[in-house]
Amino acid sequence: MQTSPSQIQIENVSRLFGQTAALDNVSVSLDAGDFSVLLGPSGCGKSTLLRLIAGLDRQTSGAIRIGGTDVGDLPPSARDLSMVFQSYALFPHLSVAENILFGLKVRRVSKAERLQRLNQVAAMMGLSALLARKPSELSGGQQQRVALARAVISERPICLMDEPLSNLDAKLRADMRVELRAIQQKLGLTVVYVTHDQIEAMTMADRIIVMSAGRIEQVGTPEEVYARPATVFTAGFIGTPPMNLFPGRLFAGQEGLKGGAGEGHLIGLRPEDLSVAARGPEAELRGVEYLGADRLVSARLGDTDFIMRMPASAAPPPARFALGWAEGHESIFDAATGTRLTQFDHPTASQPKKDLTHETA
């Protein structure tokens, strides 16, 4: 297969800190021009993986290739990438312009070209009026833009971002999500973006790499990761509230389940895929949360608590009701291993031919 110069391949990479593995034999390929998001809870190894790609840390074993070249022995500066840090890493004693130009100056780019690129990037980022200020005289959002401008002005094809929005307030974060994605598309950047915020992942990513405990749980588009979680972990991590997981025996013998599903399985159903039905297993109402557009109904089936989302226009369910679900939307997992059993998947038009969900486990 032809490799694009900015394709990143991670091959059997492990990173041990003493005896504990921060990354445990991870393999994944990040396509050129993609917005790839490494998503997972704290300590899952996503930042470690990013630092390995950047060259700020060295893997214990395995290989990292950028554009087909093994970069294991290359220093960060030779890997042709830029990086935006969580803390922004702006030089506090330099002005905005000097911060943005730091890399170009170090690399001895001519003064005329520096100025031309600075004006262009500053205009794009809306920083033109702030170039003479020091970082301490900027708001959090403006500092963030400077950090981004510093990455963009390098004109390197790959940009690594380590939770760049986590220090911003909610409103600004929402604006920056849109802006980041627009810049990535406009410049055709290959972005590797680390976050623990699934909304950032869902809204910006071409592909999400879900990680947990040093391993990759699933690689897929936001739709795939949401609709067809590859593992119980992904099912429980993605979505607010997350996917409900019922022991299979509660649904044994119910119509609508693909033959054989039941004992020894976990049945995953999204809150919005559940409904009050005429027939079905009997659930017990425990509480209702009104959210404006929706209601979140807490209920219990057997000894399993679950949450059901229903439109606020519908009446809340009675104290005891028959639980129904959108057929074809259930996810069946092996109760012992926690992995998705694809033989129970309903074929849908949107489902890709090749199953990408099991590249690594």
Binding site: L81, S82, A89, F91, S136
Partner: protein, 290 residues
């Protein structure tokens, strides 16, 4: 009620107040006053001479020598101790086996009294069997008496000061270096910034407040630290290591010309004030405070 609080407050302050007045402020004022009078001798009382003592300085070859020596001594010890302490701080600002042992070794001279340090260095310098001479003899060089020669004595004394001070200043630089976030280094590494460029363009400006603090201290110490002169040279040979403060001591407590010593003290204080204030004004523009 209120006045009782005031009485309490003054009573609390009284001990410190008494000592400050008695040992700092009063002597300072009397020194200034004494410097305008002649020294009382026998039955002859002190007489007002105006600037007589200051005029005397201009014609005093030892005073001129002491001023020149102090200038040379300051010009050597201040930059050398700052540069050395910064180099040592950079050396131990990372983790490797034995780094705390190394930090301790660098800091040890600070803990030792200067008198003890001077005695140690006398052994280093001792002609014939001292450490330096043993090394010289090993390489076939002739024996040298660094402290005993007028042309080397001042530098030999200055070396002791640098050795003594660098470890102390290192602590401040080390603390400053540790406040520079690691991510700045990483951001610079991705841009392809070499170690020297990073040091010059990022580290040095960011530790500027500490450098200013250290340099003010170094200036004060350059005039204040003369303990080792007592032990090693007593200002000799031929006034080669006569420093201003040592000359004040000699004038005041060996020759008992207290009025002249008072005038010399005023000169010393004036020099320190001018240099200290000047440093702040000069450096302030180049210092980045957070």
């Amino acid at each position: 009620m209120n006045s009782r609080n005031w009485i309490y407050a003054w009573l609390m302050l009284l001990p410190a107040f008494v000592f400050l007045i008695a040992f700092t402020h009063l002597p300072a004022v009397t020194t200034l006053i004494d410097s305008f009078f002649t020294t009382a001798k026998g039955r002859r009382a002190a007489a007002f001479t105006g600037l007589g003592n200051y005029q005397k300085m201009l014609g005093d070859p030892i005073f001129v020598k002491a001023m020149v020596n102090s200038a040379i001594y300051a010009a050597i010890t201040i930059p050398a101790s700052i540069a050395l302490s910064l180099a040592m701080a950079l050396l131990v600002h990372r983790s490797f086996r034995g780094v705390s042992l190394m930090r301790m070794a660098f800091f040890t001279p600070t803990v030792l009294p200067l008198i003890a340090v001077a005695n140690i260095w006398l052994f280093f310098y001792a002609p014939g069997f001292g450490l330096i001479d043993q090394i010289r003899l090993y390489f076939g060089l002739p024996s040298a008496n660094y402290v005993g020669q007028p042309d080397t004595a001042l530098y030999a004394v200055a070396a002791v000061t640098i050795w003594k001070e660098a470890g102390f200043f290192m602590i401040f630089f080390l603390a400053a270096l540790q406040t520079i976030p690691q991510s700045l280094r990483e951001a610079a590494a991705i841009e392809g910034c070499g170690r020297w460029t990073f040091f010059r363009r990022v580290t040095l400006p960011l530790i500027m407040p500490t450098t200013l603090f250290v340099s003010v201290n170094a200036v004060i110490n350059a005039f204040r630290l003369v303990d080792h002169v007592f032990v090693m040279t007593k200002g000799g040979p031929d006034s080669a290591t006569m420093l201003l403060l040592y000359y004040i001591f000699e004038t005041g407590f060996r020759f008992w010309d207290t009025a002249y010593a008072a005038a010399l003290t005023v000169v010393l204080i004036a020099i320190l004030s001018v240099v200290g204030i000047g440093q702040f004004f000069l450096a302030d523009r180049r210092v980045h405070y957070k």
